[in-house]
């Protein structure tokens, strides 16, 4: 008996696509496959071929893939940032930085004008200036008391000397 090649011929002539035989529900073809052992074998060989290709081992990325990609993306980001800065003309950059510095000075003078650095004791905390003047006053008073005690000592030595002179002269 001659081998039936009906399906093989149809596929070779591109009248039929193996994948869509079942999908398209072509009853005539499906009935032929069920009744013809040659065409049934042909279709099952094609299916096995396709399944074998699908069963090839799936290759996946290594564990270090994500970290490596992250570091590459960070590098790209940094380069993009650098390019963005370099794309700005020099005079614009100088103006930008000068504006920043000017803003700092203006802020400083404005705060100074509010009197936050003045020597006042009204606030809850004594200012630095008042602390310093208090310390210097203490130092002056401490210096004065030292002079006084030196004078007292001189006076008592003088008194002792006078007394010794009176005794020796028999007064």
């Amino acid at each position: 008996m001659e081998k039936c090649c009906r399906l093989e011929e149809m596929i070779k002539k591109e009248e039929l696509v193996y994948d869509v035989i079942a999908e398209e529900g072509n009853n005539e073809i499906l009935e032929h496959i069920n009744s013809c052992s040659d065409c049934g074998k042909f279709v099952s060989d094609l299916k096995r071929t396709s399944d074998s290709v699908r069963s090839l081992l799936k290759v996946t990325v290594s564990d270090s893939f994500d970290a490596a990609l992250r570091s590459r993306i960070n590098m790209i980001r940094n380069e993009q940032k650098k390019e963005r800065v370099e794309a700005v003309p020099l005079y614009s950059r100088v103006f930008y930085y000068a504006s920043g510095i000017a803003a700092i000075f203006i802020a400083f003078f404005y705060i100074s004008s509010l009197g936050l650095f003045d020597n006042t004791t009204d606030g809850p905390l004594p200012s630095l200036n008042s602390e310093m003047s208090l310390a210097s006053e203490n130092a002056v008073s401490k210096g004065n008391s030292a002079v006084d005690s030196l004078e007292n000592m001189n006076k008592s030595v003088q008194d002792d000397e006078d007394l010794r002179l009176k005794v020796s002269t028999g007064e």
């Binding site: 081992l57 290759v59 996946t60």
Partner: protein, 192 residues
């Protein structure tokens, strides 16, 4: 939006969010495609390290050229196109291209020069059957090999393959038929 909700978005929605500066959407796209691309490109390069480099380069390009993506194409098509082009460039530079073809407009004048086997990293293709299947796929003309890989390894639809290769869906189906018939002849004795 947290990562759980990003998983519910389509590729195209993720790409739109990424174009508007959402880097988490980019990470989600990487997560969706890194293994698919690796699998596809490995069978091009036959070398794990080179394949991974190509996949990294692909995601670099996606990051750098996000503005160039237009919604008229599917994101998968765009990403695969970048990856395949990079792989082909790398192969031609290294002189490891399995075959090259001078193809007429209608595809009838094909002059194929095939090598026996390019240098291969067979550590993941240890068993003999896989080796035979891979050798059979390698021996196919490039236009057939590509379609078998996209359909059977990457499990793409006919429409996706057609968009990716910029050929009609009918041509995809007919090439797949031819490729499967050739493969059947080569491996049918081994898979019984």
């Amino acid at each position: 939006m947290d990562m759980m909700n990003l998983k519910k978005l389509t590729d195209e929605e993720l790409m739109l969010r990424f174009q508007n500066g959402d880097e988490d959407s980019y990470s989600e796209l990487v997560e969706r495609y890194k293994n698919k691309l690796m699998n596809h490109i490995f069978y091009y390069m036959k070398d794990r390290e080179s394949a991974e480099d190509i996949v990294q380069d692909t995601f670099d390009r996606v990051y750098l050229n996000k503005e160039k993506y237009k919604e008229i194409a599917k994101v998968s098509t765009w990403i695969y196109t970048i990856a395949i082009n990079l792989a082909k460039t790398a192969l031609s530079r290294s002189g490891k291209m399995n075959s090259f073809s001078i193809t007429g407009k209608d595809g009838e004048n094909d002059y194929e020069i095939k090598d026996k086997h390019s240098s291969t990293d067979r550590d993941v293709l240890k068993n003999e059957l896989s080796d035979i299947i891979m050798s059979s796929i390698d021996s196919l003309e490039e236009k057939f090999r590509e379609i078998v890989m996209l359909r059977d390894i990457d499990e793409m639809s006919y429409e996706e393959i057609a968009a990716l290769l910029q050929i009609p869906t009918g041509t995809v189906k007919s090439r797949l038929n031819r490729a499967r018939l050739n493969l059947r002849d080569a491996i049918t004795d081994y898979i019984k």
